[in-house]
């Protein structure tokens, strides 16, 4: 089907479905690829609806039809057998034609969705049970940094994410921007997408990856190119040292109590690699991969007993006094 007709149909598609807009919805596309997929879906939907209505109509008419003639099972009419044979044959052919047509529509959509752009902004995403490592890599090492669970991208520019996993299979999925792609052990996959509008889009792991699969969300912030540049410059910097005594105490405790075995904070001695990088954690919007909204209370709740918030996750409960907890939370909060 020509692109023009598809675009012409689009407004009708959005009417009944507008109610379904959401932060994580394939029905409310905000990116080039998701829009293309939605159009393909819409064509399929129309065809499916027509076919289903036709079948059910024939079924109902067939059931209600007044039937004449003998009531004997084997009193068949030669003429009916012949015509019905022909009709079935023609319908079979029609099915074939429809199916081939839809295959072509699908393939055309697929070409666009998976088109590659050489100049895409490239980042690497590594799945962990149950959080996301996000690496912004650059040719010069001092322009590279690592963050977690939140991805910022510029609108209007193609973004390429390289997908790898540190453990089991996960799946990267931001329905508002594009379809999903798995992160597979021993394999590198990639996915390209372009956000059209600024906004925050939720994403979630879509492949069952163990106990806390339900709590493996992330957020994509689509920013204007200027904003994105500013954010990148800021994020690139190491963590600033706390000025106040409580913060200083927190920084020390972070190392002394073992947090730094797993977590890294750039610019400090904390260099653990097992858990999320916490360099700018104070500026993130959620705790524990979308499990809780970020606040000092939720941060404290998490550190005090991670197994209560997200049972079975890989962060152990650390033995902390309550004043130690307060200091650490205070320190982390100001890592903006």
């Amino acid at each position: 089907m020509p692109v023009r007709i598809r675009t012409a149909l689009l407004p009708f598609a959005t009417l009944p479905l507008a109610a379904c807009a959401g932060r994580q919805s394939a029905l409310d596309p905000q990116g080039l690829q998701s829009e293309q997929i939605f159009q393909t879906f819409f064509i399929f939907l129309i065809v499916a609806a027509v076919v289903w209505i036709a079948v059910v109509t024939v079924l109902c008419v067939g059931m209600l039809r007044r039937k004449h003639g003998a009531d004997r099972p084997l009193a068949l009419h030669q003429s009916f057998e012949r015509t019905s044979g022909r009709i079935v044959f023609v319908l079979g052919l029609a099915t074939l034609v429809v199916v081939l047509g839809l295959s072509i529509v699908s393939y055309a959509g697929q070409r666009i969705v998976f088109a590659k752009d050489e100049h895409a902004l490239t980042l690497k995403i590594i799945g962990h049970q149950w959080w996301w490592e996000v690496r912004y890599e650059d040719d010069s090492p001092d322009r590279s940094f690592v963050t977690a669970n939140e991805i910022r991208i510029p609108i209007g520019q193609p973004v390429k994410v390289e997908l790898e996993t540190a453990d089991v299979i996960h799946s990267f999925w931001v329905p508002s921007l594009t379809g999903k792609m798995d992160l597979i052990t021993g394999q590198k996959n990639e996915l390209q997408f372009t956000a059209k509008n600024a906004g925050v889009y939720r994403g979630q792991c879509a492949e069952f990856c163990g106990l806390q699969h339900a709590h493996m969300a992330f957020a994509v912030f689509a920013l204007s190119p200027d904003e994105f540049g500013r954010w990148r410059d800021h994020e690139n910097q190491s963590a600033s040292s706390p000025a106040d005594p409580l913060g200083k105490q927190g920084e020390q405790l972070f190392r002394a109590r073992g947090c730094a075995l797993c977590h890294a904070i750039r610019g400090t001695l904390a260099g653990g690699q097992l858990g999320p990088d916490l360099t700018h954690i104070g500026s993130r919007t959620t705790v524990a991969a979308g499990t809780l909204p970020m606040s000092s209370a939720t941060l404290a709740a998490w550190i005090a007993d991670p197994q209560h918030v997200k049972p079975g996750n890989n962060m152990p409960k650390m033995p902390l006094q309550s004043d130690e907890l307060i200091a650490i939370v205070h320190y982390l909060e100001q890592l903006k």
């Binding site: 998701s34 076919v51 319908l91 199916v99 295959s103 699908s106 792609m181 049972p311 079975g312």
Partner: protein, 637 residues
Amino acid sequence: MSIAAEQHALRDDGLNGLQLSTRLESIWRTPSGFLGALMSVDHKVVGRRYIVTSFAFLLLGGLLAVLMRVQLARPENTFLSADKYNQIFTMHGSTMMFLFAVPVMEAFAVYLVPLMVGTRNLAFPRLNAFSYWMFLFGGCFLWISFALNVGPDVGWFAYVPLSSLQYTPTKRPDVWAQMITFTEVAALAVAVEIVVTVFKQRAPGMTLDRIPLFVWAMLVTAFLVMFAMPSIMVASTSLILDRLVNTRFYDSSSGGHSLLWQHLFWFFGHPEVYIIFIPGTGMVSAILATFARRPVVGYPVVILSLIATGFLSFGLWVHHMFVTGLPQLGAGLFTASSMLIAVPSGLQIFCWLATLWDGRPVYRTPLLFVVGFIVIFVMGGLSGVMVASVPIDTQVHDTYFVVAHFHYVLIGGAVFPLIGAVYYWFPKITGRMLSEKLGRWNFWLAFVGFNVAFFPMHILGLIGMPRRVYTYTADMDWAHLNLLSSGGAVIFALSFALLLVNAIRSLRSGALAGDNPWDASTLEWATSSPPPPQNFDRIPVVKHRDPLWLDSASLPVVAGLSVERREVLLTSLAEAEPQIREGSPEPSIWPLLTAIATTVFFIGSIFTPWAVLWGTPPMAVTLIGWFWPAGSKEDEE
């Protein structure tokens, strides 16, 4: 047996009427008492057990489904923990696929195929008994593990590396993998029996183009089982080897690959869906012909569609793997081949519609379920066409859209026909009718409940709800639709409770059925209800596709089978011309003992590799007992 003994043997042409019946009954009946019951090799006894057991697993699996729906009815519900939820959805999927859907279809075949092709037992009755015991023990093993809190929790698809020792160090995936082997042994055994029975034991005159459509469907299914199941057995055995003795089939870090699992699994997993659906179509054809009061339009078209569906189903597995990063062009081709399967499915639907159109339908409960099947299954098929498209699949894969889609296909395509089949064949199997009034309630509860439960899931998937999540937050806007869906699930579950009530009531006090209460056309209705142990006093001769409609007064029969020992008549493959008389095995305890030995072996091997050593002698002994050449009765005398 020596020639001389053969000449002395008493044949049925010398006997008549009651005398013949009693004679045959005494040699074909299952020995009495508890031990006798354990020894039974009668396909009807085994088939009945098979049916009841698989329905018990349906109820258990359904119970788990309701628990899941309770958990998901509200956001951030704490009814189930993450651990319990993961076990429950794994158990639900595994139970429904391996312990209900495939076995129940084979169970109906075990009961019906010999009756429908006009013979006295399946080709390998002891293998059949063994198959049932393996199925029973495998299912109990899985459920006992679940009760002991070592039930599998990595999904019914058990993807590596999550199911590897490294990421799931408990025994749970081992339990899952061994259960697969159990049930596949059972499924393969039944498949072999069906193929041989249909090819070699059809009544004289039942040429290939006179075989009832249900039997055709089961024949195609049996071939699918034989080609698909080995793939999952290879997959699960490699998995358990990786886990127990450190092989590296799936370990990407040392030369294996995690995607190997997915290829092997889906090469089985896709045909699996057709293994469930094709028997459903056979049931639909049988019911439709009887209640539309005319043969199904386009008999050859339906058969060719069945065969084409069977073939095509093997070329589609990759559509479960569109988002694993396969080469794009290949994925595109799998889109086309997946959609192609709509053509044979469509042809069958058109034939059924034409049958209803021209028939003079009698709307009894079985036919209602067939009508419900068409409405629901067509929708599931169409959402299947959507899922087959690569771009659409990248959005809906692993979301509730897919959960909706495959329940439309599985429940619409298999469970609705199956419940119809229960109403249809209950009188034959038990001799009593199910209540028509409760039947109607049953249908409407099922139809409404099903759609309310599963239709909203399409939308949930599109608005972003992934599957296999045990909870979600209120701000995701999924709460209302989930609540609706859970309500529907409860209604749907009630419909099964009603079926149970109906069955129990009818067993006690249902109206007597008589031989052929629906005035149907196929041979199983030519015997009394329930059929006697020998099925037919004399093997019928078939001259028409609908023998009971053509020769309703009296079927022509062949005579000359022994009345002193169990004998079946073998016929030629295509034309079904009588070839020879062949002995049929006596009841035996050995299949049960072999199954017990095999069970010990399988379960033991989870805990210690040494089980392979000490587990084999008992199996060998029981197998020797099973195959010990028995002297024929004449020789002993």
